[in-house]
Symmetry: C2
Subunit: 269 residues, 2 copies
């Protein structure tokens, strides 16, 4: 299956170190070689790099490495195709606009027999289960809320909608609108929050170290989320199976009640 990488911080931070390890898994240290993508929020705007070439060999990945972009929310994905041909239209992350904000989505897993769309507002362009699931989520949210609800309520609703989709297969995902980053674990998803005192970190996939104390301020909070831990000398936390976490300003939020205040009604077609 695929690999996910996300970052959520309280200050714009570059993801060069984590991306350097992550990209090796796209054809070099691992077999996820059916394309890759990374998207950075910058303010309300969003910069995306998508490539259907393996990330370990991609000239676009070289650019991302050489041209550090600072962002508070990043979503990246390396693809091992399960459904849908290898093409740009099937490359994650996917992007849509809802409530006047861009939303980015990347999925690791495989879903089958997904429920019908309740409206035609969001339609997949490619042929993956992942983009369909993303459009279904956006459609359900759009039908339920005319504008963006408070984040606690959105979190609870999202968890319920995600649980509905997870009945159809493996549903690890990252989703962000540039203010919060949602991370759902079905099988494998880990995170670390780097904060003061910052220390040295060493990549698992390349012999590269960085001393974060040299590049950070004491008030920085940087959450990094990845399918598998990216470093071999830090304590990554495994997200519980079935849990949807929300990261804001580099701080993790859990649902106090796993279910939303009232059961989520699934809008039917």
């Amino acid at each position: 299956m695929c690999q996910l990488l996300g970052m959520n911080c309280n200050v714009p931070t570059d993801i060069v170190f984590s991306f350097e390890g992550f990209r090796q898994r796209g054809g070099l240290t691992d077999h996820h070689s059916d394309g890759w993508g990374i998207a950075f929020f910058e303010g309300d705007g969003c910069r995306m790099f998508l490539d259907h070439q393996p990330s370990a060999l991609s000239p676009l990945a070289d650019l991302v490495h050489k041209y550090p972009i600072k962002s508070r929310n990043v979503v990246a994905h390396i693809r091992k195709a399960t459904q849908g041909e290898v093409s740009l239209a099937n490359t994650h992350p996917f992007k849509r606009e809802l409530w006047g904000r861009y939303w980015l989505f990347a999925h690791n897993g495989n879903l089958t027999d997904l429920p019908p769309m309740a409206s035609s507002r969001f339609q997949p362009v490619g042929t993956t289960d992942s983009e369909y699931a993303f459009c279904w989520l956006m459609d359900q949210l759009g039908l339920r809320y005319p504008s963006k609800p408070p984040l606690d309520e959105l979190h609870a609703t999202m968890a319920a909608l995600a649980a509905e989709l997870a009945k159809h297969g493996t549903f690890n995902f990252l989703l962000s609108d540039g203010t919060a980053l949602f991370a759902r674990c079905a099988t494998d998803l880990h995170y670390i929050i780097r904060q003061a005192p910052f220390a040295m970190a060493h990549l698992s996939d390349a012999d590269v170290s960085v001393d974060f104390a040299r590049y950070t301020q004491p008030s920085d909070h940087v959450a990094v989320i990845a399918t598998q831990p990216l470093t071999d000398n830090e304590n990554w936390i495994r997200i519980a199976q079935g849990e949807l976490l929300r990261f804001e300003d580099g701080v993790v939020h859990r649902l106090t009640n796993v279910a939303p205040a009232e059961p989520v009604r699934i809008h039917a077609a």
Copy 2:
């Protein structure tokens, strides 16, 4: 104001030569230095590069120059800000999904007192008149057609909707869903169709020539659309003020009746 560049072809073609001249206008040979963007359709997918740095100096523009991407539909824009701050969210082209296809839009001009949105389906993320106008167009098309209509009908409807917006100011634009490219002229928009016998072309903005005969097949049709002609030794055609042209497979289509079969009803809020 801004500068537009578009390309529509019957075979995937790289835009390196035209882009090389065009990017000079972003801060070097002209003053459009408030960001730039270029988007390439590849199949149904779409690759976008956006930067709020001047295109003449941008490392991303260097990448586009060095890493020739072949595409049948390209939309590019260099910005001279009129409304909305210089930011990534305000950088053209803008992208939305409608009818399961991505749509790209770039605008040159200035619009004021735009009509209200009839629904909340498409909402601008940034603060430009341009993105608002694009969302208004997509909204009106989505309300009128549940799926993509035949291109002749879409062309006529689009011309009527564009004329409605043009009452509010200057509305030169490029719009593409990856199959056709629409080009509307309010004040300045030119095109050329390169086809056999191919000849030598020389840029206006840099001392660079290319012999297209060396890089093309006799059956190739390549339409290039730009605010101002990009070469100084070819015959560019000026699009008539108020006209909306449609390019498909490198061939230009005009509306036989400028008005659609029945008057376009504007959906009101």
